[in-house]
């Protein structure tokens, strides 16, 4: 086939094109370079910054919290046992059997362990209403009007002894009831220090907007720790243990570089792959600045004597 001489690509364009293709391949290597650099930085300490006085941020803490609409709370969820997508848990078949449901409360730190039916727990203690900010580690947030019981009440009933230094929570892990139960290689585990567990903010939630918890929100009973990243607020709890040693929570085990035990919200300490300085309010437009301890510093800052230590904030 005869080719007109005008159709032959000039050598300059030929070489340039090859060079640009090579450049394209180089750009694709950027994520690897970035990760390598980040690993290098991990060796260095976080720059020490002065602890901002909480009083300097009152304008950021709204007086009245506007709760996120229920249809948003129930349709935008991270519950990997029901799928990895944000809409998977709400679209999944309602296969979780929430009644009967028992919570096994025990551990070496409990003098009065017991197996409690969820109805017993709800009947025994006063259900309180608390509107809390909820901040996910992925930098999105909601405001949720929870109904629940103070975790402190439940722990006191188990009669904690001197061995009770931490509290370890376990989620149901049943392949029959959860399509993606094996995602983390076992049951989802979370933990708190005994002081964090006894804090009046810490809730065992059984409802939202005065409605029973839906499957996707961690039915029938879940933890709410509003000053920490959302993954700490473990769902569908079957076991609570008072233990001596710090439990290794699932996300810490999954990726110890990016997720730790304390996971307190702090805009100053970025996640290795994204900033934590701002958050998207789901259902609204725009972003807003993230608050230290998610705005609950008044009630919890005293638990963390070293405010410059990244250990508390990831």
């Amino acid at each position: 086939m005869l080719i007109k001489s005008s159709e032959i690509t000039s050598e300059m364009v030929f070489n340039k094109r090859r060079r640009l293709i090579a450049a394209g391949l180089a750009v694709l290597a950027l994520p690897a370079v970035d990760k390598g650099y980040a690993l290098l930085l991990q060796k260095q300490e976080q720059a020490k910054q002065p602890f901002p006085p909480l009083a300097s941020m009152p304008e950021l803490i709204p007086e009245v919290l506007e709760p996120t609409p229920l249809n948003i709370i129930t349709n935008y969820n991270n519950y990997y046992e029901f799928g990895y997508g944000k809409d998977d848990p709400s679209k999944a078949i309602k296969s979780l059997i929430t009644s009967p449901w028992t919570v096994d409360i025990g551990g070496v730190g409990a003098d009065k362990p017991g197996l409690y039916d969820i109805a017993e727990i709800k009947g025994e203690y006063a259900i309180e209403n608390h509107v809390y900010r909820f901040r996910c580690v992925e930098a999105w947030s909601m405001v949720i009007p929870w109904n629940g019981i103070k975790l402190a009440d439940i722990i006191r009933a188990a009669q904690p002894n001197s061995k009770a230094k931490f509290v370890r929570f376990t989620t149901l892990n049943d392949a029959q009831q959860m399509p993606n139960a094996g995602w983390s290689g076992g049951a989802y585990v979370e933990g708190l220090t005994i002081a964090e567990a006894m804090n009046p903010l810490t809730l065992m939630a059984t409802g939202i907007y005065d409605k029973t918890l839906e499957q996707q929100n961690g039915a029938p009973i879940r933890l709410v720790v509003p000053w920490k990243y959302g993954f700490k607020s473990i769902k569908s709890i079957v076991k609570i243990e008072l233990v001596e040693h710090m439990p290794q929570n699932t996300w810490w085990k999954q990726n110890d570089r990016e997720y730790g035990f304390y996971a307190n919200v702090n805009p100053r300490f970025d996640h290795p792959r994204w900033t934590q300085a701002t958050e998207r309010v789901i259902g609204q437009l725009g972003r807003k600045p993230t608050l230290l301890f998610n705005g609950y510093g008044d009630q919890v800052a005293h638990l963390y004597p070293d405010p410059d230590n990244r250990l508390y904030f990831y």
């Binding site: 690509t9 000039s10 300059m12 364009v13 030929f14 340039k16 094109r17 090859r18 640009l20 293709i21 090579a22 450049a23 394209g24 391949l25 180089a26 750009v27 694709l28 950027l30 994520p31 970035d34 249809n71 948003i72 349709n75 935008y76 990895y84 944000k86 809409d87 992925e138 999105w140 970025d270 792959r273 994204w274 900033t275 300085a277 701002t278 998207r280 789901i282 259902g283 437009l285 725009g286 972003r287």
Partner: protein
């Protein structure tokens, strides 16, 4: 009238209509969902990336399959639609996610390399989209136009790197797309003509 007897120009119109409808559906679906911003941002970002990648697949695949070769002209439409989806993606980010708060945007870019990569990709796509027509070809002349459009490789590589690094945990999809892109780039390098 079946698709097979339609002239190429009609098939182009059908493609344009289909991709336009898909975008409108994406907007509608996002409006109906719990979070308009992240849903629309994800939709336009993901499918914009797919469209751009598909536009690159035409040349290597046209060597294999005749029907691809016959539809080579559709490559431009797909590429431009990829740019349109990317533009909506950028507008959503600026106007809906950050509500024109430039300082916040600068802070966010500073803390996230993947956003910078996205900006790079978009900036490169702008002149490519602008010259993806007869006017562009005439204005630049064939050689310069070809040179300029070689930037596609960097632009789409930046798109894939941006997509990959933007994920919190679900990296499989961008990883697969990235592999396809690497295959295309290697093929093009070998067969650059």
């Amino acid at each position: 009238m079946t698709i097979t007897v339609l002239p190429l120009s009609s098939r182009k119109h059908l493609l344009n209509i289909a991709l336009c409808l898909a975008l409108m559906w994406g907007i509608y679906d996002a409006l109906m969902g719990p979070d308009l911003v992240s849903d629309l941002r994800s939709f336009t970002g993901r499918y914009g990336a797919y469209l751009l990648l598909v536009s690159l697949l035409f040349t290597p695949l046209s060597q294999r399959w005749l029907w691809v070769k016959r539809h080579l002209a559709l490559r431009r439409n797909i590429g431009v639609w990829g740019f349109i989806y990317a533009s909506v993606h950028v507008v959503v980010w600026i106007a809906l996610e950050f509500a024109f708060d430039w300082q916040l945007m600068v802070d966010e870019i500073g803390g996230n390399l993947f956003i910078l990569l996205g900006i790079l990709a978009f900036v490169l796509l702008l002149p490519l989209a602008a010259t993806s027509n007869r006017w562009g070809l005439k204005k630049l002349g064939y050689r310069s136009w070809q040179s300029l459009h070689s930037l596609t490789y960097i632009a789409i590589a930046a798109v894939m790197a941006h997509f990959f690094m933007a994920q919190k945990s679900d990296v499989l999809e961008p990883l697969l797309l990235g592999c396809v892109l690497v295959a295309v780039l290697l093929w093009r390098y070998r067969h650059a003509h």
